[in-house]
């Protein structure tokens, strides 16, 4: 987060940010990460509230840290607030962006899940839940494959692929705790073997 940015945010700007996240929340079918392109357009290109490296680092850090990946949204809000001048602003930025990103989607999901639970004997509900199973399997496997190939250069990064494949086999074949695998990956990377 090298080149610091100094911006002034009015209440109208904060409101604009909040409203934008409310919309993004409704558009984020397939996960919050699916809306990153639009977030980039809004935060970096249109309003210049965030630098390119702040944007990239927010995603990378949230991927590496424990917890749901949607925390990259919190980090972007944090950085926008910091750019606006203070840690208080940063905390406010986190609150604005996380509440905006989560409120519409969680409300909808809760209502849908509740409805589905009450009508779980309906043929259509059972057909939907069971019918989606092959696609759920496909999406999970694909997410892993895409993450493994998501290198900085775009060229084939075979040590990373090998590491991902070994980790996958260990998860399938052993009951080794996943934290050991992550620690192993971190060590290999720390010593520059990746």
């Amino acid at each position: 987060m090298s080149a610091p940015l100094h911006i002034v945010l009015s209440w109208a700007d904060w409101l604009n940010l909040f409203g934008h996240y409310l919309l993004l929340s409704l558009m984020s079918v397939g996960g919050a990460i699916a809306t990153t392109a639009e977030m980039h357009r809004f935060l970096v290109e249109e309003h210049h509230w965030l630098t390119q490296s702040q944007f990239n680092d927010s995603i990378a850090l949230a991927q590496a840290a424990p917890g749901p990946n949607v925390l990259f949204v919190a980090l972007m809000g944090w950085n926008v607030g910091l750019n606006a001048g203070s840690y208080a602003g940063a905390v406010f930025g986190v609150a604005i962006s996380m509440v905006g990103m989560l409120l519409p989607s969680t409300t909808l999901t809760y209502l849908a899940a509740d409805w589905g639970q009450r009508n779980r004997e309906l043929r259509a509900v059972r057909a939907f839940k069971q019918g989606m199973a092959p696609v759920v399997v496909a999406l999970l496997t694909s997410t892993g494959l895409i993450l493994a190939s998501g290198t900085r250069t775009g060229t084939l990064d075979w040590p990373l692929w090998v590491l991902a494949a070994v980790a996958g086999v260990l998860v399938l074949r052993t009951r080794l705790h996943m934290l050991w695998l992550l620690a192993g990956g971190a060590l290999l990377g720390w010593f520059g073997w990746l």
Binding site: G131, T143, M178
Partner: protein, 200 residues
């Protein structure tokens, strides 16, 4: 409500010992621990811990809840947390699980952001992040393959269900078709076929 007609396929052949969380506070603690172990994505950990260790739900139920979490807008893991919490204690459970999933990881990631601002230049840090990313990718793909085993009891029968999953992988991972189209197209097709199969 119509009289439920249960086809054999919707009842898992062998029901594992079934447990449940004791209270919303129990949910909060469980999801906090899950979230803090979930580097690079929590899904793999959620499946292993809740299905394989705690046995709060079966593999099939996990997939079904995940389908709901995936089709609705919003972060998948957050949606899944909400749905699983609601399953046991309604709105209170949903909020407790959600608070567990978000509170400590949020504090931690903000601390990391402050630290990262100082140590970003260290080559070891970037390498370690890359290594953990690769391991996380492998774990998520392995979880997908593991769930494929439960397609054996799928109403569409194993060959068709597996083929559909294969087509999905090609669409998303190889052809990079947007997830939404895959969900609506392939998912819709699978749902219609399943609907017809459930009628018999």
């Amino acid at each position: 409500m119509t009289a439920p007609i249960q086809p054999p396929s919707s009842v898992p052949a062998s029901l594992p010992p079934f447990n449940a969380p004791r209270s919303p506070a129990h949910l909060f603690v469980a999801f906090s621990l899950l979230a803090l172990q979930g580097f690079g994505g929590v899904l793999a950990i959620v499946q292993r811990d809740l299905v394989e260790r705690k046995r709060w739900l079966t593999q099939e139920e996990f997939i079904e809840e995940w389908a709901v979490a995936q089709i609705m807008p919003g972060p998948n893991v957050v949606n899944l947390t909400l749905v699983l919490g609601a399953r046991y204690f309604g709105l209170r459970g949903a909020l407790a699980a959600l608070a567990g999933m978000l509170t400590f990881p949020l504090l931690l990631v903000l601390c990391l952001a402050v630290l990262h601002a100082q140590y970003a230049a260290h080559p070891g840090v970037a390498g370690a992040l890359r290594g953990m990313g690769a391991v996380a990718a492998g774990m998520i793909a392995a979880t997908g393959l593991k769930l494929a085993v439960s397609l054996r009891s799928h109403p569409l029968r194993l060959p068709l269900a597996l083929s559909a999953a294969g087509v999905g992988i090609v669409l998303v991972a190889v052809l990079r078709v947007p997830m939404l189209y895959t969900l609506l197209g392939l998912g819709g097709l699978c749902c219609v076929l399943t609907y017809r199969r459930l009628a018999r």
